[in-house]
């Protein structure tokens, strides 16, 4: 590897860790992943929510995909 490349990668590392006001290195894989999957995950989730609502409408099941209760176990 050339010296300039090493310097550039070091600089890149420093810059990207300062992003998103995080003291934590979020991990390149995780970040790129979020760009890639967020939209898909989000639409899947939306579909699921409508599905649950539909089921609820027909009285099949009383569940909501979105609950912020303490029922954790």
């Amino acid at each position: 590897m050339r010296k300039s490349t090493i310097l550039a990668s070091a600089a890149a590392l420093i810059f990207f860790t300062s992003q998103a006001h995080a003291y934590l290195d979020p991990g390149t894989g995780s970040i790129i992943l979020q760009a890639t999957i967020a939209a898909v995950a989000s639409s899947l989730f939306a579909v699921k929510m409508y599905w649950f609502k539909l089921k609820e409408m027909f009285g099949m099941k009383r569940v909501s995909a979105d609950q912020t209760d303490d029922d954790n176990t």
């Binding site: 490349t5 550039a8 990668s9 890149a12 590392l13 810059f15 990207f16 992003q19 998103a20 006001h21 995080a22 003291y23 934590l24 979020p26 991990g27 390149t28 894989g29 995780s30 970040i31 790129i32 992943l33 979020q34 760009a35 890639t36 999957i37 967020a38 939209a39 898909v40 995950a41 989000s42 899947l44 989730f45 939306a46 699921k48 995909a65 979105d66 912020t68 303490d70 954790n72 176990t73």
Partner: protein, 466 residues
């Protein structure tokens, strides 16, 4: 004047430090962090989350509390004290799962108030009894439009991957997590994943793709980082990512036990033998008279005697066991009956050490201490016979745990000891009641003893305070 004691585990985030002073817990807030904290407090989020028990109760106090003791800080907070600090490698599956879900609950509520979290470390979750509570209020930051979920990787390593390890492969996370305090590396779990698991979008994305992208970025750091720097995430997608992860985690169950912990628990507790009744009476009487607030139940099994101790007046019980099934039942019991009972994974022959940075970041179980009384029922023989630890040393370690306690001695004639010796040579000629008594007598007063079974199992009540 006593000096504030710096918590050695609170150095990673420069936003603040945790101190203990006069039995109270304080947190300093840096100037930069104070800006965020004030925003979060003004949003009403902290109060709301504290009221529902999701976040530790916090109030601002006069900074002179610490400054006059020599610790300078622009702002000082006081927290309600968590009675016993525990670590994710001491949690059984349901504790880790409960903590993971609560963490996501906190994140979702925060995001809806325009607040995000700067990290997702499992060490920021603690248990008060069986209730998970988030303790690091300085992780809350004002949400910036388009920001990514900075804690995603950490959440995967410290919550998701260890849960998957058990749910998919039947492997408990405790030893691995204790060996690597950052959790279970996504690259590692991706390597274990059979191809067909990728039919699940959750596995495909959070495990396989994340690992691939991480590897690719590591191979070409310049390209990887420049790509990563420009990523933005809409608030809606951010929230839905949290919600879908929460839905997924809710469905995870240990591969080897399933969801029936409860039923077993009910079945097994209907019948009580005479021996159990005698033990319960002895324990209840001891706890009542000792007025112990914090009781450690070493080898707590499913928490029978922990519950007895609570009924007899103990404020809280910290249970320890190395059997995952027993721990899971204990937790189910604590949740169902709303007991102030925290069952933790611990191998008596290899308890949690002081470890992490400078060997002080995470404390050993004995350093954390705090027991007023200890119960060690049907426990000693597992170490003395099962693990070849000299009886004298077993007694020593138990008596060190608390000033008072009840220790059960199980004789060699007992079927459980016979079982332990079934396939091996009996190398314990001195494993005798009189050796046990002698060991106990050199360290404490034997207040009373009672034989509770036909096989001669005996309970000893010791007191080393006078």
């Amino acid at each position: 004047m006593t000096k504030p004691l710096l918590d050695q585990g609170s150095f990673r985030d420069p936003s603040g430090r945790v101190y203990e002073l006069g039995g109270e817990i304080f947190r300093t807030v840096s100037e930069k962090a104070a800006e965020h904290f004030n925003f979060v407090r003004a949003s009403g989020l902290l109060e709301k989350l504290a009221q529902s028990g999701k976040v530790i109760a916090t109030e601002e106090v006069n900074r002179s509390v610490l400054t006059k003791a020599g610790v300078d800080a622009p702002m000082v907070l006081r927290h309600a004290r968590v009675p016993f600090i525990s670590y994710p490698y001491e949690w059984s599956f349901p504790l880790l799962k409960t903590a993971a879900l609560q963490h996501l609950n906190v994140q979702v509520e925060a995001l809806r108030s325009g607040v995000s979290l700067s990290d997702a470390t499992a060490y920021n979750m603690q248990f008060i009894g069986s209730k998970p509570v988030f303790i690091d209020v300085l992780s809350f930051r004002k949400y910036k439009d388009g920001e990514i979920w900075a804690g995603h990787r950490q959440f995967c390593e410290q919550f998701l991957n260890p849960l998957l390890l058990r749910a998919f492969f039947g492997i408990t996370h405790n030893s691995w997590f204790r060996g690597n305090l950052e959790g279970i590396d996504t690259l590692m779990i991706a390597r274990m994943m059979p191809w067909w698991r990728n039919f699940s979008f959750n596995v495909l994305s959070h495990v396989t793709m994340q690992a691939r992208l991480q590897s690719a970025a590591m191979a070409d750091t310049v390209k990887g980082t420049s790509k990563a720097r420009n990523v933005t995430l809409s608030k809606l997608n951010y929230e839905r990512m949290l919600l879908s992860l929460r839905d997924w985690i809710k469905t995870l169950q240990p591969k080897d036990t399933g969801a029936t912990v409860w039923q077993h628990y009910a079945e097994n507790t209907t019948y009580q033998s005479e021996e159990q009744q005698a033990k319960r009476r002895f324990v209840a009487d001891f706890v009542k008279k000792s007025k112990a607030k914090t009781v450690w139940d070493v080898g707590c099994n499913t928490g029978d005697y922990s519950e007895v101790a609570l009924q007899a007046g103990a404020e809280r019980v910290i249970g320890f066991d190395f059997d995952q099934g027993a721990l899971e039942r204990s937790f189910a019991r604590a949740r169902a009956k709303k007991l102030n009972f925290l069952p933790l994974f611990q191998d008596g022959a290899n308890p949690s050490p002081d470890q992490g940075w400078a060997n002080t970041e995470r404390k050993s179980v004995m350093t954390r201490g705090g027991a007023d009384a200890v119960l060690a029922l049907a426990f000693e023989h597992h170490l003395a016979i099962g693990r070849n630890i000299p009886l004298d040393r077993v007694v020593d370690s138990l008596v060190k745990m608390a000033p008072k306690g009840v220790i059960e001695f199980v004789r060699k004639e007992d079927p459980t000891v016979q079982q332990l010796l079934a396939l091996r040579e009996d190398i314990f000629p001195n494993y005798l009641p009189k050796t046990f008594e002698a060991a106990l007598k050199t360290r404490a007063r034997i207040v009373k003893s009672e034989v509770v079974s036909a096989s001669g199992r005996t309970l000893y009540l010791y007191d080393r305070t006078k």
